[in-house]
């Protein structure tokens, strides 16, 4: 331990040379590309939304973060109460037709890259609730990245599903969900539609800024 510290100090001072330096670099440096590093970081700091729909919420956002199962081991313990800060939404339970627009709005408010996990039989397929009140599968109204079967799934199953999601994130899928699921062109806009042209003021400001930097 002490000798390693001394070698590191020597390296920083520039005293390490020749074969010793080669060996040090071989031991300490991992070469990768930026995308892989970024995806590794993303997969290990995935913030779930503090959000529960029904009985599965006891298993996923509640049990899984307790000391016995401890989702923090996989870097997903930071529950976010705002969808704008969250990376992952877990649909824990049946989605009623009255709740579906709310869930969709939460998903739309999350920032890319975002991940949706459908947990349990109900949110994946409607489960036992084949009736007037429940949406028959949450992927009818939003894209789902991962389905965890069970009624309810054990917390271990949720953890396993989460590691699968990590693998998916590390595999560098397209980061925007519309690209990922081939849904470009399905954007919905508020009344009036998107502004394709910048306003006169912002166009002026843009030109002024370009002049300022001499572009």
């Amino acid at each position: 331990m002490r000798s390693r510290q001394l070698t590191a100090r020597d390296m920083l001072r520039g005293d390490l040379e020749g074969e010793e330096l080669e060996r040090y670099v071989e031991q300490k440096v991992v070469l990768t590309n930026f995308e892989k590093m970024l995806n590794w970081a993303r997969s290990n700091s995935c913030f779930p939304l503090t959000f529960g729909l029904a009985c599965c919420a006891i298993e996923a956002p509640i049990s899984v973060v307790t000391a016995r199962y401890d989702l923090a081991r996989f870097g997903a313990e930071a529950m976010r109460a705002s969808p704008r800060q969250a990376d992952m939404i877990i649909l824990s339970g049946r989605v009623s037709i009255k709740m579906a627009p709310v869930v969709r709005r939460l998903y739309d408010q999350m920032l890319e890259p975002k991940w949706a996990v459908s947990m349990g039989a109900c949110s994946s397929s409607g489960g036992m609730f084949s009736n007037y009140a429940v949406v028959q599968g949450a992927d009818k109204f939003m894209p789902i990245d991962l389905h965890i079967p069970g009624c309810p799934p054990r917390p271990e199953a949720v953890l396993y599903g989460f590691t699968k999601l990590q693998r998916k994130i590390q595999g560098n899928p397209d980061q925007g969900w519309r690209q990922r699921y081939n849904a470009a062109g399905t954007e919905e806009w508020a009344r009036g539609g998107p502004r394709s042209e910048p306003s006169a003021e912002s166009a002026e400001a843009y030109l002024a800024a370009r002049e300022l930097i001499g572009a």
């Binding site: 037709i97 009255k98 084949s130 007037y132 009140a133 429940v134």
Partner: protein, 172 residues
């Protein structure tokens, strides 16, 4: 709760003021019930609430049922409670189905029992029974733009057929 002779006494006293109001009396699973004509629902409820010696001042529940093959088809149940004597009495207003697009109608008892307001909205929401005189009769649990009355017996179960092997083999 009133026993069978007590129920007949109540029936007789109501019949004096409102002839034809009571259609039937009965004990179902140990609970006394009065089946009444929906025209007289307010009169009967007022009498049970205010008449000396009755005092059913608490409406513990209001709900509806659809007895589809039976006629009349619908019933609105008022579960009344006398909290001094801890006696319960069920009043059933029997409603006929008026046909295709029309909805069955009944007088609202919100003036008598304010607690009925949300419960009448719920009955309207799921059974499509209209309470005349209700201050705000809109859907309470289902989405506002929902079409249909899902707790009626002739409402389709909905959802999607599940492709079990049995279903595939027999109905493919």
């Amino acid at each position: 709760m009133p026993d069978a002779p007590g129920l007949e006494l109540i029936r007789g006293e109501i019949e004096q003021d409102h002839p034809g109001a009571i259609l039937d009396t009965g004990f179902d699973h140990g609970a006394a019930s009065l089946s009444i004509d929906p025209e007289h629902v307010l009169a009967v409820l007022t009498w049970l609430r205010d008449a000396p010696g009755q005092g059913y001042r608490f409406l513990s529940s209001l709900h509806a049922a659809d007895y589809l093959p039976a006629e009349p088809r619908f019933a609105v149940h008022y579960e009344l409670l006398n909290r001094d004597r801890v006696e319960r009495l069920r009043v059933k207003a029997l409603l006929a189905d008026p046909g295709e697009d029309a909805l069955p109608e009944l007088d609202s008892c919100v003036e008598l029992f304010p607690t009925a307001e949300f419960q009448e909205r719920e009955v309207f929401d799921f059974f499509g029974i209209v309470f005349k005189g209700h201050p705000d009769l809109t859907r309470i649990l289902l989405p506002e733009d929902y079409v249909g009355w899902p707790q009626r017996r002739d409402f389709p179960v909905g959802g999607e057929p599940v492709t079990f092997t049995y279903n595939e083999r027999n109905y493919g």
